[in-house]
Amino acid sequence: MIEAEHPPPLPGPVHWTRRAYLLVAFGAGLLALAVAFRDAVPLFAGIPLLLAPFLAGSQGSRQLSGADLEWQASGLGPDVTITGALRGNLGSSAVDISVEVPKPLGATDAEPARFERDPTAIRFALRWRLSEPSIVTLPPPRIVWRDPLGLTERPLDGARPSLPLERYPPSLHRLGSIRPARTTTLPGEVHSRVLGASGEFFGLREATAGEPPRTINWRATARAGRLLANDYRIDRTGDLLIVLDVRPTSLGPDTDDRLLGVARAAAHGIAESLLREKTRTGFASFGEFLTTVPLSTGRGHRIRILRAIKAARREEIAGPAMRCALGLRRSYPRGVTTLVVSSWTEDPSFNLVPYIQRQGFPVVLLSPSPLPMRARTGGLDPADEPLAERLERLERRTRLSELWVHGPVVDWEDFWTLEPLSRIMRRPPYRRIS
């Protein structure tokens, strides 16, 4: 069957740039001067300025129709490499087409952008370095043809996909290997005393080194000729609730937004690592009110929870910490290990940790520090900066140390590693003891 050929998309309208308006304004001024003073010389100088903007739009881009964009992001940790290609019948106008890729906040160029142009494609490669973890969706780049004089421009049509960019500490990939403690029963699950601590039989798996002999299924091992162990349903999942604090603080909206970006990236990375290992994970964000995603696992839940984390935004009004704790109590069973991600720089009543802990949730506080973002912004002498940073750090540590009575605290300053959190999560109260 021969498919009907799609007509090429119509080219977009030609726009004048500010430069064109400037030239026309000067040209018109010279023309007015010439007529007013009966002097032909300004007129001669003004003729090229008046004509060029009108002529520029009609040249060169008539054959351009559309161009499709394909682009992808790669790299690890703070390094981001964006590669892409703009394909279409660009012809000789390819050299005058600009691809303006939007840069995320806090990203710097690690290398100058590289562009390769030929009549059928423009290939580009950009290398950025992110200052902190973030999860963003890059909007499509602006692709325009500009005439060589820069007087007119025309946006090009075609496919323009967005590009998701997710960067969180590489150490989070190993967080999935930790089995969080099982604190709740599954819906409909009834514990049987006969079954012992391990629960219902789930299936067989390859035995690992150091496997206790009681977990080896000797009959299955004899049949298969290799060591096989029993896998129990209760071993499959643990529980973790992630609470994201999206309340405004005295640090100001810019720092708050950057800290929330880091917190969201951490929550995203932790949730993804745990859900990959079928850990039951819940998510709640607290601004003025509490928004919750229940504890669950599975592919559908993974999409739901990651979407909720991405959608979390800083709120304008801060709700009382007690409201968050009571909301959690209503939405989740007591005893669920709760990871609170909050920068917390306010007075003690603002802090969520004591209130949540009093409602029966074991709490771990992950606190992204604002100090790296505020470094060298105080207008101090370079000699005084280290002293000021040290004092700020001491003050913060003093305030955070008071929270250890409620649960472990991770003062997160190096945003590209979460090894301290991994160490805490490996400890017995949070990790299941086999």
Partner: protein, 186 residues
């Protein structure tokens, strides 16, 4: 992408700057400003604009053209009416177009690629100058005839290229895009 690509060849050649500077200086020399003030104004205007667009903040921007345009306007406004000054005013305008086509922020060869735009403008200047030479009359009438001719040329170009529209405001590539910030994304 295979291997590192060579660094991009940028515009901003010396030739067009020298050409524009020479045209402006010569117009200043023929003009009505006392002593060597004319060439100095022309040279200063070209130098300021070139320096601004090469090294200044927001280089390649529209504002960098203003010193050159002001110098051109001053020189053209103070020049006496004569066929030679008419011609050099037109040439200075054309040289200005060549100079802006050779932008360091754009790929090299802008002057060559801008020829389809500059050539009709040069034709307009040439036509107007030919008419001023051919017309017999007072300089005022010559000016009026030139003005009418220019207006007719602009109208013709306007009809050929269609109605212009204002470009939407947009951030430049170098600036962080608010929509892509870590707190606004997704």
């Amino acid at each position: 992408m295979k291997g590192p690509s060579p660094p991009p060849v940028r515009g901003g050649g010396l030739a067009t700057t020298v050409l524009f500077g020479a045209a402006a200086c010569f117009l200043g020399l023929l003009g009505g400003l006392p002593l060597l003030l004319g060439p100095v104004v022309g040279a200063l205007g070209v130098f300021a604009s070139t320096a601004w667009r090469t090294h200044g903040k927001g280089r390649g921007g529209t504002v960098a053209l203003v010193p050159a345009l002001l110098a051109l306007a001053i020189l053209a406004g103070t020049s006496p009416v004569a066929p030679s000054t008419d011609l050099f005013a037109g040439l200075a305008g054309l040289a200005f177009l060549l100079w802006i086509a050779d932008d360091p922020a754009r790929p090299a060869g802008g002057g060559r690629r801008a020829m389809p735009t500059i050539a009709p403008a040069a034709l307009g200047v040439g036509l107007a100058w030919a008419i001023t030479l051919a017309l017999v009359g007072q300089p005022e009438e010559v000016g009026l005839a030139g003005g009418l001719l220019a207006a007719a040329l602009v109208l013709l170009a306007f009809l050929v290229s269609g109605l212009p529209r204002r470009a939407p405001a947009h951030p430049r590539n170098a600036q962080p895009v608010r929509g892509a910030s870590p707190h606004d994304g997704v």
